[in-house]
């Protein structure tokens, strides 16, 4: 078990990871309390203050309907994180369970599942996500579902490989001898022992999920207006970039980059901590 002193030691050795973790906590707090502290209502239009550059009244300027971009960027954090977290948890939970089961049981089910996953991997993932969103309709739920589905294969393969390598381990045999059934062996012994690479994958994946959501929005398959979301805000602002109203794109873009940046640093950090051999 890792003690507090241990964590403190690790954090001191991994300064950047520590900063990333702190930043993520800050972003999470912003996501939680943001909607209650923003200076303007993120949805209220103000047609007298359209496309104002950043000022003391509107820190990040206003968009084409006079809405305050700062407030929208802040409020969007909650939705973007929620989409990423729910989607990634969903695909991790499903992918890990199926992957572990197939890896442990093997045989025909395993071969069938592996084939299905091969098909999913060969599919152009972004197009798959688009098609899924188009089929299920433009809603937060379908974006979550699409993101979860396209990330599923990674968890499946990762877990299946991990379990395959551990199937014959001593503690597994001990568990079987002690009378645990298959389900217990998988969920109480194998999965907990195979988690470290999954945790790394989750942390990296959170960033990808945010990028993926933004990409879908850029193509026009984002959440319904007027809900603030970073990708949609970039897409709306893209046309204004050439008329010089850079702030409409740049601020949500930077927020997006910052969030993904923190998640990927954290993922790297966790990998370093768990696998000292690859420490950078």
């Amino acid at each position: 078990m890792i003690s507090i002193a241990n964590i403190r030691f690790i954090l001191r050795r991994n300064f950047v990871t520590g900063i990333a973790a702190v930043l993520i906590v800050v972003l999470m707090i912003v996501a939680l309390i943001g909607p209650y502290v923003v200076p303007h209502d993120p949805l209220t239009t103000n047609l007298r203050e359209v496309l104002r550059p950043p000022s003391s009244a509107f820190w990040f300027g206003t968009d084409h309907l006079g809405r305050d971009i700062f407030s929208r960027v802040i409020v969007a954090a909650r939705l973007d994180f929620a989409i990423a977290i729910v989607a990634v948890s969903l695909s991790a939970a499903v992918g890990v369970s199926i992957g572990a089961f197939c890896g442990y049981v093997g045989g025909r089910i395993d071969r069938a599942m592996s084939r299905i996953v091969d098909v999913m991997m060969a599919f152009p993932l972004f197009v798959a996500a688009m098609a899924l969103v188009a089929v299920f309709g433009n809603s937060v739920e379908s974006i979550v579902l699409a993101t979860a589905i396209i990330n599923l294969p990674f968890y499946f393969r990762l877990m299946r490989a991990e379990i395959n390598a551990r199937r014959e381990a001593g503690y597994v045999e001990a568990a079987i001898i002690n009378g645990n059934n298959t389900r217990q062996v998988i969920f109480q012994f194998l999965i907990p022992n195979s988690m470290p690479p999954v945790v790394v994958q989750i942390s990296l994946n959170l960033g990808w999920a945010i990028l993926n959501t933004a990409g879908l929005a850029f193509i026009g398959l984002g959440v319904a207006p007027p809900t603030p979301e970073w990708g949609i805000m970039i897409q709306e602002g893209a046309a204004m970039m050439v008329s010089g109203q850079w702030w409409v794109v740049v601020f949500p873009g930077l927020a997006l980059v910052l969030a993904v940046f923190c998640f990927s640093l954290l993922g790297d950090g966790i990998r370093d901590i768990m696998d000292p051999r690859r420490r950078s």
Partner: protein, 539 residues
């Protein structure tokens, strides 16, 4: 093969980098050339057949210019503030094109067309009455064209009679004021029938498959090159005899999906004619004063907020009126459309003329709206969804957001629903959407024609699913009414109904804004909104 290509391009890139020719300044070549008119537009055409199945609006830019029709609309000069030097089609002046002259019989039941002597198709074969006959027969047979031809009483091949090699007669059961205008529309284009007939098959008697990717016409332009989805070049047809054509320049039509890219090119003077720009860009460019913008509205194209009269609560007249009074018309017009159109709101309280479309009497009045809603039995409002086409969000998305805000103030809770373009038509046809934005225009200018399409019937074009027996009756009565006074009275009643019952809420008739370079002359707006190229010249 792939390996060789890979190596080839690898070396090529290496060379480029080594020569240090990265970020090159734009070339002198980019400056305008008088021999080429460069057009930038948003979407690619999908067929060369004027009556092709699923033909899209961009394809009209080709079909309209490479084919002739028996007759066409004349042009009249425009005088508005940003219309200097431009022309618009004249619905009341139908002039001969492939025909040298035409004569309507005194009873109005037959029209005789004399073909132009010496006129040929692009391949040099003379245009004969047999070609015209084949083309008209085709128009009443192919799926896309036949309903439209029917609105001009042309339904049977027997109605098209070849008198001699250079004369053809069109007969109708009743004198129909829509017969001649229908012959000036897209579909009855004149094909080189001898060529087409070489490409017909038993299952495809009208050479639809072949004409989709081939041109067999005699219009003022020839299709010189075509790269699907990217660009095409139209070249003037030197032997064109069917009307005044001043254009000697080649037309380079390029598809540029990003509005921002089109705007940059327009501002830098790198294009001669730029279309499909959002109102915000147009307003900004006008303010900067660097480019010339022609803003021309099609009088019969209207943008609506449509309510589904077939389902509750919009079957309730008072609810519809409440919605009509809650629309922030002026704010939308100013901030969403950037005033690039003619308002359809804030009109006089009384109907004074049979002019249609004309402004409705509504303006935003939330107190009145709230009162009407209470009277209708919804004192605390209701919930509904507002649908917009995901492909057309520049205007409709802000409109939806402003509507959501305004309706929220009278207690109607609105969820905005963005629907992919491919699904919109299905939902409209199935009449499933409660509240949505629609934009459509009529090709023929008569008010009764307009109401017949948009205010009755079960097609998707009856956006409000409006089913008022009185409207159905007077629209039918007006169809064959020849007495102008009686006709006007009927139209006044239609307008009255449209105003008081508001099955759909007209917002505005938007301009089709076109940025033209300084040297362009003779721009003419046609009923179909696509380009009429033959009058264009460049100096």
């Amino acid at each position: 093969m792939r390996r060789r290509e890979f190596l080839g391009s690898g070396i090529a890139f290496g060379g480029a980098a080594a020569l240090g020719i990265a970020f090159q300044p734009r070339l002198a070549l980019a400056q305008s050339q008088t021999g080429v008119i460069r057009v930038l537009a948003e979407g690619p055409p999908n067929t060369f057949d004027p009556a092709g199945t699923g033909y899209n609006i961009p394809s009209v830019n080709i079909t309209w210019n490479v084919y002739d029709r028996l007759v066409t609309f004349g042009q009249k000069p425009l005088t508005g503030p940003d219309q200097q030097g431009a022309f618009i089609y004249d619905y009341d002046n139908i002039v001969p094109q492939a025909a040298e002259s035409y004569k309507v019989a005194p009873d109005g039941k037959s029209i005789t067309f004399n073909l132009r002597k010496g006129a040929t198709f692009h391949d040099g074969t003379p245009v004969t009455a047999a070609d015209v006959k084949w083309s008209l027969d085709r128009a009443i047979n192919v799926t896309t064209a036949k309903n439209q031809m029917g609105t001009g009483s042309m339904k049977d091949a027997k109605q098209f009679i070849v008198v001699d090699d250079m004369t053809i007669r069109v007969e109708t059961d009743l004198a129909d004021r829509f017969t001649v205008p229908n012959l000036a529309l897209l579909f009855p284009a004149i094909f080189n029938s001898k060529v087409c007939m070489q490409h017909t098959t038993a299952s495809d008697p009208w050479a639809q498959e072949w004409l989709k990717t081939n041109v067999a016409g005699g219009g003022p332009f020839k299709l010189a090159s075509y790269q699907a989805g990217q660009q095409f070049v139209l070249e003037p047809f030197a032997n064109w005899k069917n009307g005044p054509s001043k254009s000697t320049a080649k037309i380079l039509y390029q598809i540029v999906p990003q509005a921002a890219s089109r705007r940059i090119a327009a501002e830098r003077g790198e294009a001669d004619l730029v279309r499909d720009l959002p109102g915000r860009d147009i307003a900004a460019m006008i303010a900067e004063g660097k480019v010339k913008v022609l803003g021309i509205a099609n009088p019969s194209t209207v943008t609506y907020i449509a309510m589904n009269n077939g389902i509750a609560p919009f079957d309730n007249l008072k609810v519809r009126q409440a919605v009509a009074y809650s629309v922030p018309y002026q704010a939308m017009f100013d901030a969403v459309l950037y005033k690039r159109g003619n308002p359809m709101f804030g009109g006089p309280a009384k109907v004074t003329s049979p002019e249609w479309p004309s402004p409705l009497p509504y303006t935003q009045d939330l107190t009145k709206a709230k009162a009407l809603l209470t009277e209708a039995g919804f004192p605390s409002g209701f919930e509904t969804t507002f649908s917009i086409d995901a492909d057309d969000v520049t205007v409709s998305e802000p409109v939806a957001i402003l509507m959501q805000e305004a309706l929220g103030k009278i207690g109607i809770k609105v969820t905005i629903n963005k629907i992919p373009a491919g699904q919109m038509g299905t939902l409209l046809t199935e009449k499933k959407l409660p509240l949505f934005i629609a934009n459509a225009g009529a090709w023929l200018r008569s008010p009764d024609y307009f109401f017949r399409i948009f205010y009755q019937g079960d097609t998707r074009w009856n956006f409000g699913s409006y089913a008022n027996p009185e409207m159905v009756k007077i629209v039918a009565d007006a169809r064959w009414e020849t007495d102008p006074a009686k006709y006007n009275a009927l139209v006044m009643r239609m307008i009255e109904l449209a105003r008081t019952e508001v099955p759909v809420i007209p917002l505005w008739s938007a301009f089709q804004d076109t940025v033209v370079s300084k040297g362009m002359h003779g721009y003419t707006y046609m009923f179909h909104r696509s380009l009429e190229l033959r009058h264009l010249t460049k100096s």
